[in-house]
Structures are given as structure tokens and as C-alpha cells.
């Protein structure tokens, strides 16, 4: 499954290279802003009609100025600043499409300006750096509540989700606006929530199913939470799909981003997060064995051998009093105690 994710992420990277970057919406690009008046006054040119006449423009922004009866409008369309030619063509296109509806003589262009982007691209850069700060904080908290490996897995999982979302955006050249940023934030929250709930189940099962190995433990926990994972995804999907079907313009875009995010988020919760924990744990195990092999020339014999995997599992719930074998005690981190106490209180 991890290889599937890797393929997606690499595809995103290749897409970024081939497509020459994201398709930035009008929030992030320069544009042409025209103040237009439609004569004569009282010619029944409401904004709906103007909007219709200009419906061929992508990312169009059209607003009434002052009293609607004056029939004055502001039109904003995307136009990269460097391209002088393109701008002139754009002006012509605006004029033509309006002239077709209202007659050439009635279109009065009152001013034409080239406006810069609403947000400079460093908003994107800034968002990335803040997200990194947020991820570090998340890492600290989850490491505190669970175990460092779980925390790292949760954060890698988030990065994975965002990377795939960005990949889809770039490959299909979907418009990136400020709502895209909002969608990504929502997905970060969603996916994190999803992952932590499963980790919580693993943590709980650790104490209940003490003799199983980590793979079985993870499997059991995912299966037990599966109903909840699917239901939550389903309800969220219902909401976003309905927004996608019935909505238009920017919120439709938002909904599409969200659909992708929910699917990726759910997929990563079930298949990626725990796989990372398992893989990491096994890697540690292998290294330990290799070191021991080097040291003693053979694997340590005895009853501890078959239980090796389980013993290395981050044992939050491991009761310290119960015959701690040395390895388990090493990971049964100190703060496991207060957590357990609190929960016992709850149960009573």
C-alpha cells in the first residue's frame, strides 16, 4: 500500500514539473480591472445580464459600483502582467462579449487598470512554514500521549495526505485559490482526527490483548474501528458531495478538494498510519537483532524470542508491576501511569 502512495506522490512531483506549477487562481495572479458603464441609463442592464454576457470568462469577478441603477460595473479577469499582448486581447474580448449583448455604442470603458495579485505568493510560503510549526506541535503532543513512533507516523500521514492533495491539484491543473488553503486545513484536521482515533484503539487493546503481536494488534484495532471510520467518512462525503453537485464556482471547487481529501485521509488512516508504525517497529527490531547477532554470534535463545515483537511495542498501558521484562520497561514510558489512573477513575 505504501508503494501505491509513493506512486501517487511521485506522479504529483512529475506533474508539477511537466505542468510548470500550480494553476493559481485570481487571488494569486495579476489581473485586468475595468470600470465599465452600460448606456443609456435605464436600458435595463442588471448585473445578472452582464454576468451572463461574460459567462465565458474563467475566474471572472464582477461587481456593481454604487447604485445599481447607474449601470456601472467593475470587471476583473485574470491576466499575467508580463504579457502585454494577452492583456490587449483580453480587453478586446471583454468589449466584444459586452457589445454583443448591449450594442457597441453603449459600452463605455471608464478606466482600465492592471492590478497585482491579492495575495503575494509568500502567503503560500508562509502557510507552509506555519504548517510545519503546527506539525511539530502535533508531534510533541502525540509523542507525549502515545509514543514517538506513533507521533511520527501521524505526522508522516498528514504530510502524505497533503502531498497527494497537492499532487492531484497540480496534475489536473485545478485552480488554487484561498479556499484551497482552507480545504487543506480542514483535511489536516480530519485526517489527524481519524488517525488518532485508531491509535487510541491500539493503545487500549495493548493492555487487553497482551499476548498478541503488533501486526495482529493493529489489525484488530483497525477492524474494530472500521465501522466508525467508514461512517464518519460517509457522513462527511455526503455533505461535500452534495455541495459539489448543487454548488457552483468557488464552493464547488472547495467541495472537490474536500472529496479528494476525505478519500485520501481515510485511505491513509486505514492503510498508511499503522503500516508506518509496524514497519518502523520491525526495522528497530531487525537492527537490534543484527547488533545482537554481531555481539553474541547468535540470537538470544529462550522464551523471549517469539515474543520479541510484542515486547518492543510502545507499551503505554503496560502495568509496571507485572513482571516487566527489561525491554518492555524501557519503553513503558513514565507518563503511562497518570493516564491509566485517570481512565480507571472514569470507569468506576
Amino acid at each position: 500500500m505504501i508503494s501505491l502512495s509513493l506512486i501517487f506522490i511521485i506522479a504529483g512531483g512529475v506533474g508539477f514539473y511537466l505542468q510548470g506549477g500550480f494553476n493559481l487562481g485570481i487571488d494569486f495572479t495579476a489581473g485586468l480591472s475595468q470600470q465599465i458603464r452600460i448606456n443609456p441609463i435605464g436600458a435595463a442592464a442588471p448585473i445578472e445580464k452582464v454576468r451572463q454576457a461574460m459567462s465565458g470568462f474563467e475566474g471572472l469577478n464582477l461587481q456593481v459600483i454604487g447604485n445599481p441603477d447607474n449601470q456601472e460595473f467593475i470587471v476583473k479577469v485574470q491576466a499575467p502582467q508580463e504579457d502585454r499582448d494577452f492583456q490587449e486581447k483580453m480587453e478586446m474580448r471583454i468589449f466584444d462579449s459586452l457589445a454583443e449583448e448591449f450594442g457597441q455604442a453603449n459600452i463605455e470603458i471608464r478606466s482600465t487598470d492592471f492590478v497585482g495579485p491579492r495575495y503575494s505568493e509568500d502567503l503560500l510560503g508562509q502557510t507552509v512554514s506555519i504548517t510545519i510549526v503546527a506539525l511539530v506541535l502535533i508531534l510533541l503532543y502525540t509523542a507525549f500521549r502515545f509514543h514517538f513512533i506513533f507521533a511520527a507516523a501521524a505526522v508522516i500521514c498528514l504530510l502524505h495526505d497533503v502531498a497527494i492533495m497537492l499532487g492531484v491539484l497540480v496534475v489536473f491543473q485545478m485552480e488554487v485559490t484561498t479556499t484551497t488553503a482552507a480545504a487543506i486545513l480542514t483535511i489536516i484536521g480530519y485526517s489527524l482526527n481519524d488517525t488518532i482515533v485508531i491509535f487510541d484503539r491500539i493503545r487500549e487493546n495493548r493492555s487487553l490483548l497482551r499476548d498478541t503481536d503488533l501486526a495482529t494488534l493493529i489489525n484488530t484495532s483497525i477492524t474494530q474501528s472500521l465501522g466508525r471510520t467508514i461512517l464518519t467518512s460517509l457522513t462527511t462525503l455526503m455533505a461535500v458531495v452534495s455541495i459539489y453537485i448543487f454548488g457552483t464556482g468557488e464552493i464547488r471547487n472547495f467541495a472537490l478538494n474536500m472529496i479528494i481529501g476525505v478519500v485520501v485521509g481515510t485511505y491513509s488512516t486505514i492503510f498508511i498510519a499503522s503500516s508506518i508504525v509496524l514497519g518502523w517497529q520491525r526495522a528497530i527490531e531487525r537492527r537490534r537483532r543484527a547488533i545482537e547477532l554481531k555481539k553474541f554470534g547468535r540470537l538470544p535463545a529462550g522464551p523471549s524470542a517469539p515474543k520479541v515483537e510484542e515486547a518492543k511495542v510502545p507499551a503505554i498501558e503496560a502495568p509496571a508491576a507485572e513482571k516487566p521484562d527489561s525491554e518492555r520497561a524501557a519503553i513503558a514510558v513514565t507518563r503511562s501511569q497518570p493516564v491509566r489512573k485517570k481512565r480507571k477513575k472514569k470507569k468506576r
Partner: protein, 574 residues
């Protein structure tokens, strides 16, 4: 916690949320459009309105038959009339006639003042109300658009040399950045600020076209200065003033005979705000024309309320260099008066009791003025003066039908979740649905207090947050089902379900909350706005899922004595 106590907690929170929400309801439902437009006007316009209304009201009152009962729209006058009657120990009439009311005032002028106070407060309180409501963004409602020009000529003059194209470019780029910061800090969400042409900036703000709002953003910084009052020159000026009563200054406040004042001093007006918040000239003072300390040395400014009088106090914090200058200035001028000058108006004067180094407390500012000053000082100086060239109201950027369709889509999505929860979880689903609605109610009320600006995507975001909050309920219900299947009683299953779900919900939500909080504190504009919504949604969804749902379940099992939980669409095998 007993059930009754928990119930009371919920009721109290519902009431608090309603008080948060009330200004928004009032603003959008109860207040006529005409009044809203007035509230968006300048203070001078409000003054004109209140004076005119008061005049007309008085005329109308005098035209009434004096024995007629006081018409309802003037009932507000009885309040102050009653007090006057009591002071004079006259019996207070049960039904007020026009004459009764008028009689209680000493004369027409006094009635007029009372009337004007009423009409003024009516509009000014609306202005205040507006700042506690949910605003609609540029896409839904439109707002105002201003064209702002960078005054490069003045910059060149003050520098004494012409600017290279790179320098001009840099000045405008920095002005744009500072403008962005300021508007952001003033809490206006979703503005559109774009560079336009060579030396222009267009700013679009959601909300009413209130010209004062825009002016706040482009205020300069070097305009705040601390000057030492020159007592000798002031005495000279007072003598001159007494010798030439009524003819010592011209219309723009310049002294008619400048040679009266010693070299290096200037005459400057002392102003106070009137009830409308308009600066009124109260007198004059003479200060050393060279500022003792310029505002450029101010590092930060904070506004607090005086504990006794409640009047705003501004604390200015100086840079290290500024502190040194100020210490020297204040130690050289102990027992002299210092004037705080903003935009060439004396706002406050104080006697220097002892040398001050790095923090200055100043009273004498109006609250709003103090806050905007503090913000301007905090966001840094504009590299070039900005002028507003023109300002117009603009309509919504989304078409009417696009808005309707969008709102419809969002509503469908929400309803779908609600129906699904009921179909899947039956009775318990209804509890989740109730929790969901309460959640929406809490979120909207908190956004209302924050004076949040809603755009169509942010509405979608709020509803999605609420929809995803159903997750907490799903976790609990799945756990309850598991316990129930094990053969536990309804009460025990509920108890165990909530207990086991508790940590999962808490950990998952706290983690997300951390992310949201980080993004809302550090982010800018749309990112921060969205993160706030997310954070608010998390807190409110945890409360509704863990507290409200639990109480309803407990009520069901303990009070109604329900033995079977209705929690699944199919029969539960036990």
C-alpha cells in the same frame, strides 16, 4: 455532577450564546436599512441628522394639543422628565400629556438637548452594535472600494532628492504590505488589496461604505509627537489673547501676529472629543516647535481602561534609543507640562513629575481613537503618504442565483447528514442531530462575537466542521453498541461507551485543536480566519458530544427509565 447541575450549565451556556448572537439578529432582522446607512455615515453626518431630527421633533411636540397624551415615539422623554419631577418633589403623573413633559424642562433649549441626545445615541449605538455582528463578505454582500494613491511627490520633497524607479517601487511595495497588515489587525477579514497601475492601490473591504474606516488604515505614524509646553511663550500668548479678544487667530487656527511668539515655538490647538466623537477646539497652548520625542521611537502601544474612571489609557512603550531620549527630556523638564500631539492637535497634557524612561501612560484619547492609534503604531510607519482618491460602494461579486444555489447546496449537505444519522442510529441519531444543531448554534454565536466575516466558502467550511463533528457522536455510539452487544444493561452500556470513547475523542480533538490554534495565531488573512472557525468548532463539538448528548442519554435511562437503547437501524443481536 448531578443531572440538574449539568442541565443548568447547558442552559447558562445557551443563554450566553444567545447574548452573543443577539446583536447579529438585531442588526440583520430588526433594524431598518435607513438606520444602518446612517450608522455607516461619518460622525459629522450623524451630528447633522441628530440635530435635524431633534429640531423636527420639538416642532412636532409644540404643534400637539398640550393636553393630549404623549405619542409613543416620544415616550423616551418621560424618563428624564420623571427624574426632574422627583427632584422638584412634584407628583409624577401616571399618564403623560405633552404639556407634562414639556413643563418639566426648563426651556426649549433643554428639550432640544434631550432630544438630540436620544437621536445621537440611537445611531451611535448602532455603530457599536455593528462591531459585534457577523459580517457578510465581498462575495455575498459587497462592500466598499477605495482607490488610494501613493504620494511620491511629498516623499521626494521630504527626502530632498528624486527617487529612482527602484526606490519608488520599493516604497509602494512596502506600503502595500503595511496596509495589508493593518487591515488584517483591525480584524477585517477577507479584504481585497491589490496594487493597481504605477502608484495606486485598490482596497476592497466588506461591510458598509463607512469613509472613516478607510481613513484609519492610511494614517501616518510620525504624526504622534511629544512636545514640551513653553510656559513663557504661553503667558505671552495669553496676554495677546486678552488684548485682542475675538481677533487673534484666522480661520485655520494660525495666529494673526506670529511675531508675538518667541522663535522656536508654535501655537497649537487643544482638542477634546464631543459626544459624537468629533474633535472640538477647546483652547490653545504654545509648545516648543521641535518635538521632544517623535512617534518613530515608539515600539508598541496598548490600550487599557482606567480602573476607576473607565476612561481609556494608552501605554506607549519606547525603543531603547527613544527611552534614552525621553529620559533626558523628562529629567531636563521636571515640573513642566508635556503635550501629546496627534495630527497637529493636542490630545493630552500632563505635568512631568519625575523622569520617565521606557513606558508612557497617556489619558485623554477616546477609546476608538486610542485603539486605532495603538494599531497604527504597532504595524509600523508607511514609507510614503497615502491619499484616498475615490471611494465607492460595490455590490456582491457573486450573482444572486449563485449565492442562492450555494446556500442551497450547503443546506442540502447538512440536512443529508442529519437524515442519515437518524436512519442509521434511530433514537440515538436524534440525540446526535440535536447535538449537531446546538453545535452550529454555538459556533455561529462565537463567530458573531468575533465580528467574523462570512464568505460563501467559509459558510461551507462552518457547516462541514459541524458535519464532521458528528464523528464524536459516531465514536461514542459505536462504543455503546459494542458494550450493549456484550449484554450490558442500557445504563451500563452508555456509561462504558462514553468512558471508552472519552480519551479517543479528547486526544483526537486536542491534536487538531493544537494545529488550528497554531494556524490561527501565526497565519494571515484567510488562513487565520479559517483556523479560528476550526478551533471554535472543535471546542463546541466536544462540548455538545460529551456533555449534552450524555445528559440526554442519562435523562433517558435514569428519569424515563428506558431499558432498551435505540441505537441501530437493524436489530441488535445480543
Amino acid at each position: 455532577m448531578s443531572k440538574r447541575f449539568r442541565f443548568v450549565v447547558i442552559l447558562v451556556l445557551l443563554a450566553v450564546a444567545f447574548s452573543f448572537l443577539y446583536p447579529t439578529i438585531k442588526w440583520y432582522v430588526l433594524i431598518p436599512v435607513k438606520d444602518k446607512e446612517l450608522a455607516a455615515g461619518t460622525r459629522n453626518q450623524i451630528k447633522l441628522y441628530a440635530e435635524r431630527e431633534a429640531g423636527e421633533a420639538l416642532k412636532a411636540l409644540l404643534a400637539f394639543d398640550s393636553l393630549e397624551n404623549l405619542p409613543e415615539e416620544y415616550l423616551f422623554l418621560t424618563q428624564s422628565a420623571k427624574e426632574r419631577f422627583k427632584i422638584e418633589k412634584k407628583p409624577v403623573p401616571k399618564v403623560w400629556s405633552v404639556e407634562d413633559v414639556l413643563k418639566s424642562f426648563a426651556g426649549r433649549a433643554e428639550v432640544l438637548v434631550e432630544l438630540e441626545d436620544h437621536y445621537r445615541e440611537e445611531i451611535l449605538s448602532l455603530k457599536e452594535l455593528r462591531s459585534h455582528t457577523i459580517q457578510l463578505g465581498l462575495d455575498l454582500k459587497g462592500g466598499m472600494r477605495a482607490l488610494i494613491q501613493a504620494d511620491l511627490k511629498t516623499l521626494e520633497e521630504s527626502q530632498g532628492s528624486s527617487l529612482s524607479p527602484e526606490e519608488k517601487e520599493d516604497a509602494i511595495r512596502r506600503a502595500l504590505e503595511i496596509l495589508n497588515n493593518r487591515i488584517d489587525q483591525f480584524g477585517v477579514t477577507e479584504p481585497q488589496i491589490r496594487r493597481s497601475g504605477e502608484d495606486m492601490i485598490t482596497v476592497e473591504l466588506p461591510g458598509e461604505a463607512d469613509p472613516e474606516r478607510m481613513r484609519k488604515f492610511i494614517q501616518g505614524k510620525g504624526l504622534l509627537n511629544f512636545h514640551i509646553v513653553n510656559e513663557e511663550a504661553l503667558t505671552l500668548f495669553k496676554g495677546y489673547q486678552q488684548a485682542n479678544p475675538g481677533a487673534y487667530i484666522d480661520e485655520i487656527g494660525k495666529i494673526l501676529q506670529p511675531d508675538i511668539l518667541p522663535k522656536g515655538t508654535i501655537l497649537i490647538g487643544v482638542y477634546e472629543k464631543d459626544a459624537y466623537g468629533i474633535d472640538l477646539l477647546k483652547g490653545f497652548t504654545v509648545v516648543n516647535s521641535e518635538a521632544g520625542l517623535s512617534g518613530n521611537y515608539i515600539r508598541d502601544a496598548r490600550v487599557n481602561a482606567d480602573q476607576i474612571t473607565g476612561k481609556p489609557i494608552v501605554h506607549f512603550f519606547l525603543t531603547r534609543e527613544g527611552g534614552d531620549i525621553f529620559y533626558k527630556l523628562t529629567s531636563d523638564n521636571v515640573n513642566k507640562t508635556m503635550a501629546v500631539v496627534l495630527d497637529d492637535k493636542v490630545k493630552a497634557q500632563a505635568r512631568i513629575a519625575e523622569p520617565i524612561r521606557d513606558a508612557v501612560r497617556v489619558t485623554g484619547f477616546a477609546r476608538e481613537e486610542a485603539e486605532s492609534l495603538a494599531l497604527v503604531l504597532r504595524t509600523g510607519a508607511l514609507p510614503v503618504p497615502l491619499d484616498i482618491i475615490n471611494q465607492v460602494a460595490i455590490g456582491a461579486s457573486l450573482g444572486e442565483d449563485a449565492i442562492q444555489q450555494g446556500v442551497k447546496a450547503i443546506t442540502y449537505g447538512f440536512i443529508l447528514v442529519i437524515i442519515f444519522m437518524f436512519l442509521y442510529y434511530k433514537g440515538s441519531g436524534l440525540i446526535a442531530d440535536l447535538a449537531l444543531m446546538l453545535n452550529l448554534y454555538f459556533i455561529v454565536s462565537i463567530l458573531s462575537v468575533f465580528n467574523f466575516t462570512l464568505t460563501l466558502p467559509s459558510i461551507a467550511g462552518v457547516v462541514l466542521t459541524v458535519g464532521m463533528a458528528v464523528d464524536a457522536n459516531v465514536i461514542i455510539f459505536e462504543r455503546i453498541k459494542e458494550e450493549y452487544r456484550l449484554g450490558k444493561s442500557a445504563k451500563a452500556a452508555i456509561k462504558a461507551g462514553f468512558a471508552k470513547a472519552f480519551w479517543a475523542i479528547l486526544d483526537a480533538n486536542i491534536t487538531t485543536f493544537i494545529a488550528a490554534l497554531a494556524l490561527s495565531q501565526l497565519g494571515k488573512g484567510p488562513v487565520a480566519g479559517f483556523a479560528v472557525t476550526l478551533a471554535v468548532g472543535i471546542v463546541s463539538s466536544m462540548f455538545t458530544a460529551l456533555f449534552v448528548s450524555r445528559l440526554i442519554f442519562d435523562f433517558g435511562t435514569d428519569v424515563l427509565g428506558i431499558k432498551k437503547i435505540s441505537i441501530s437501524w437493524r436489530r441488535m443481536s445480543r
